[in-house]
């Protein structure tokens, strides 16, 4: 309890470093969009997801949570994904009216 940085308190340096990483990713995603790269949309989303993960694991401190909370996040994502896939089973194959 009497440690300099108590257990669970992320150091300011780490948080600042994450911010730098996030800002760099933001710059990258804008650059990709501006430079007309192929598959730009996919790359944009890949970058957005990595930004979200940095946020989750460092700012939201998911890396210090118990295994249940880490696992269960997939349940929510799985629910959302299944909704999206099943909706697209209609949207992709709908006959033009």
């Amino acid at each position: 309890m009497k440690l300099e940085v108590p257990e669970g308190a992320t150091g300011y340096g780490i948080l600042f470093f994450i911010w730098i990483a996030l800002a760099a990713l933001l710059a990258a995603t804008i650059a990709i969009a501006l430079m007309n790269v192929r598959m730009a949309v996919a790359l944009n989303f890949l970058i957005a997801t990595s930004m979200a993960l940095l946020n989750l694991f460092y700012f939201m401190d998911l890396r210090h949570e118990d295994r249940f909370l880490k696992t269960i996040i997939f349940l929510a994502l799985f629910a959302l994904t299944s909704i999206i896939i099943l909706t697209y089973s209609d949207v992709f194959y709908r006959m033009a009216g």
Binding site: F68, L75, S82, T87, S89, D90, V91, F92, R94
Partner: protein, 543 residues
Amino acid sequence: MTPAHESAAAAGQASYLENPPGRRGVFASWMLSTDHKRIGVMYLMALLSFFWVGVSLGLAMRLNMLHPGALMQAQTYDELFTVHGIVQLFLVIIPGVPVAFGNFFLPIMIGARDVAFPRLNRLSWWVYLTGAGIVVLSLFISGHPPDTGWTFYAPYSIRTPTNVSLAVAGVFVLGFSSILTGLNFVTTIHTMRGPGMTWLRLPLFVWTLYATGWVQMLATPVLAITLLFIIMGRVLGIGFFDPSRGGDPIMYEHLFWTYSHPAVYIMILPAMGIISEVIPTFARKAIFGYKAVVFASLAIAGVGYWVWGHHMFTSGMSNTARVAFSLLTFFVAIPSGVKVFNWVATLYKGSIRLDAPMWWAVSFIFLFSIGGLSGLIQGALAPNLDLHGTYWIVAHIHYIVFGGVGTALFAGLHYWFPKMFGRMYRERPAKLGWLIFFIGFNLLYFPMFVMGAEGMPRRWFDYSAQYHTGQMISVAGSWVLALGLLIIFGNLILALFRGEAAPENPWGGTTLEWHTPSPPPARNFPGEIPVIKHVSYKAGGNG
């Protein structure tokens, strides 16, 4: 209050029904209470009141069929079936079992003093009242009550001049209450289990509340946003579901049923939980296949996510989706079947006592099976195209929701009434009420299967001569059913005031709520919380 009384109250020994010492009046003391038992009882009272509103509307609809046009116009009929649906589904049966019995018994059954967030629980109750109030307001405020059907299908729901915005807003608010309750229960089960209460020792009712909680959390937000878009469509002209503005009404149906099909499991899972409590108690036997029932609950909650499209076979969605959803629909029947087999297997060679709760439980199995099997017929794509627009669907939904969830609610009511209020009801009128209800129910709804198969369209306020006999049987059935309900409620209300004092464990139940006085003290258990040593169904009980 006598001094002895006061010290008992101070020690948390006094019944939760007694007002704690203080300056608050009785009404304020209940409304401001964070005691999960009081909140459960208030929910129960509100639910049963709204239930009667819904019943009256239903009776009026049936009455119309005696001589269509004599009693009301078509517009009134549309409003009636809409409001009947909204009230019975969103105000009564979706919150239903979890908010009333879940609130009261979940903490006791897991050996806790309260839920994880008592103040949030109270907030859910207030939010529920607010939502219900808004829905009721939509009936009486200037203009007409909504006439869209309880599903609020776009684009009609965006264009109709009736009070759809208000009703939808009410349902939106009710959704919040539902989410908060689910969140509270799941957290409670994770963090508040009493000494020795491991996961696989939990009573089955608790397991169903757990599965339900997840569905509430992960499905209700989809409804919330969808309803919000309906309101935005009406008020701001955002045309997400309006074809004239590029929107797709079928997307509304997707999003609506993404919630509203899992909502069926929000209703039925806790109902199955009640049955899983009642049957072992009255068969004097541990439940057959405890783990199978647990996993069946979780499987129903999971697979229930992937079947919503079977409500939309005639909506114009793609053939690929229709086939996929039809196939998935068959999968969800498997865990439901597992449960039915387990209940019946529990009865096998049991020492069965047929008290009132047990009659309700066995009739649940019967009616739910009819509802479930008819669901398989309409879940198959080809027959569905014929049956979808007919009375068949009306019969099916009532066998599941009323015959299933409704009877389970009454099973729970008769099972736990002595515990909740500390009074016994009279057994003979309870059984008589059940019998009349059961006869009336089948008279009312079974002819609808027949008429539906013959092509009687649902939501029509008139019918051709060939359906006359069926309609008449059904109308008569509605009166028999109402008589049964009157006897049941009369008996219970009488017991509330005049019933004999209930013993701690009138039925020989084994779960924790039977190890505390009836009614329970404010802190749930008079002394220390009993330590659990084995799974919750064993002769001699736990503790």
